[in-house]
């Protein structure tokens, strides 16, 4: 049998789960409560992890005698001047460092990872000298890749006029097939998530004492909360 703290934890988690799902049916006060808890918890959690990270990555070397790290602490504190009406511009210095690092490390690798490597992989595909099926598949692959790149050329309108319009149509068909595939995969992801939550409720919460009684009570309360304020006896205010 789980200890008391774990039991309380499961109860909280289960009720929050049910309350959040109620939004699929109608907005209600329980969802609103759960949502505000979620937003608050997210902000609190990232603050905690931020502090933890600063301690491990910044404070520790500073304490170990690397005084250059004072600069980064000053910059970090300057970030918060963004909330000041007059000195907000000082937050731009640390922000510029962050933006500069971000651009530097993405640009230097994007050009290889997402441009050159993709071109190289396409250019190396074999259409001749393989079995017919591979050859056809490769040919379709190449045509769709080229057509999609072509589709996103915007400033040469003549390239899309007349008979050339067929290229855009091929691109569109290729992309639609890709979107159909993505859509099906998203269904899988979301259903796996629902499964995770329902599995938690069924195998962790419901076996606990009183949970079987609490479930219908919670559902009835929820349905009551979904009734528009004007039509229910109490409370009359909309939330």
């Amino acid at each position: 049998m789980a200890d008391f703290a774990t039991i309380i934890q499961i109860w909280f988690a289960a009720l929050f789960t049910i309350w959040v799902y109620s939004i699929a049916f109608r907005d209600n006060v329980f969802f609103k409560f759960a949502e505000h808890t979620f937003v608050g918890a997210a902000a609190g959690h990232s603050l905690v992890m931020g502090v933890n990270n600063v301690q491990r990555s910044g404070w520790a070397p500073l304490m170990a005698g690397n005084y250059l790290y004072i600069i980064v602490f000053v910059l970090g504190i300057l970030l918060y001047t963004r909330y000041h009406n007059e000195y907000f511009w000082m937050s731009r210095f640390p922000l510029s460092v962050l933006v500069g690092i971000g651009i530097g490390i993405t640009m230097r690798t994007t050009v290889t990872a997402e441009f050159i490597a993709q071109i190289q992989s396409t250019a190396g595909m074999k259409v001749l000298g393989t079995d017919a099926w591979t050859a056809i598949s490769n040919l379709i692959f190449i045509i769709i890749t080229l057509a999609v790149v072509y589709y996103f050329v915007f400033t040469f309108p003549k390239m899309h006029g007349g008979g050339l319009g067929i290229i855009s149509i091929i691109a569109k068909y290729g992309m639609m097939a890709a979107f159909g595939y993505s859509f099906a995969n998203t269904v899988l992801s979301r259903f796996n998530m629902i499964f995770g939550r329902l599995d938690f409720i069924m195998s962790s919460w419901l076996p606990l004492p009183y949970a079987m009684i609490a479930l219908p009570v919670a559902l009835i309360l929820l349905i009551y909360a979904m009734i528009p304020a004007a039509r229910r006896p109490w409370p009359k205010t909309q939330n």
Binding site: K126, F154, F156
Partner: protein, 258 residues
């Protein structure tokens, strides 16, 4: 000395750099002409239908902030908003803009006001009612937009900007109440939902093109021109590489590996 294996990448980066800069300079003199975007062409029809039925047009630019990496999507969405507002003002259709970012409020007010002014219908503009700051938390915003859909039954719904998990929720709700929908986002994970549900679509980069085309901003338009030339380079490299590979010559693949 260049690091081996990164020489071609460095060259490519410099080449793109020069092309984009040159294209931006040229665009200051001569704005590039854009190809037709099916999604944008649908807007007059959508606004027209709203005028016929006397129902409003709903507009949203999704989530994201102006100081993050999705800002350019947001900016594109706002350019389309200005265009749609002017069209709505001309036809006497009410446009409702649901706002997620409080920092966008003043910009949107300015944009819509000048749209109504140039249509000569400033008296019809009611910022309090038409620009609605709903919430800055994702799901609260989403359920508030759903509320607008269910209460006011907009004839058309236009969504352009960075969208996240709420995309399906919006698309499904407006589909249910029978709005014609145009949607566009560059966030790859969300495009499929829009493709499934919405009537018209701006796919990925198309929203930037739409924004640049409508705003006539030379920096943005020139940058897109530069990227287009980059796409030519990509296509040429692929085609030449394929031909050489078929002939058994690995010259291009070797070049790219440099």
């Amino acid at each position: 000395m260049f690091v081996t294996g990164r020489i071609f990448a460095a060259g490519m980066l410099v080449a793109i750099w020069i092309i984009v800069l040159a294209a931006m300079e040229l665009a200051k003199k001569n704005l590039p002409i854009f190809r037709k975007l099916a999604g944008l062409d649908a807007i007059p029809e959508m606004v027209g239908r709203a005028a016929e039925t006397g129902k409003p047009v709903h507009f949203t630019t999704g989530l994201g902030e102006l100081n993050t990496n999705v800002a350019s999507q947001l900016v594109a969405g706002l350019s389309v908003l200005a265009y749609v507002s002017e069209m709505c003002a001309n036809l006497g259709v009410k446009i409702i803009y649901s706002v997620y970012q409080s920092q966008v409020m003043p910009i949107a007010t300015e944009l819509m006001k000048s749209a109504y002014t140039s249509a000569g219908r400033l008296e019809d503009f009611d910022p309090e009612d038409q620009i609605r700051f709903l919430s800055d938390s994702q799901f609260a915003y989403a359920s508030a937009v759903q509320g607008i859909a269910e209460r006011e039954h907009p004839a058309a719904n236009i969504m352009i900007g960075p969208f996240y998990a709420e995309s399906m929720l919006f698309a499904e709700t407006f589909y249910r109440i029978g709005s014609i929908q145009l949607a566009g986002t560059a966030r790859g994970y969300q495009i499929p939902f829009f493709a499934v549900v919405c009537d018209y679509l701006l796919i990925a980069e198309e929203i930037y093109a739409a924004g640049a085309y409508l705003s006539k901003d030379p920096v943005l338009a020139g940058s897109i021109r530069g990227q287009d030339i980059g796409k030519f380079i990509a296509m040429i490299l692929m085609i030449v590489g394929l031909i050489l590979t078929a002939l058994g010559n690995p010259a291009i693949t070797n070049l790219l590996k440099m």
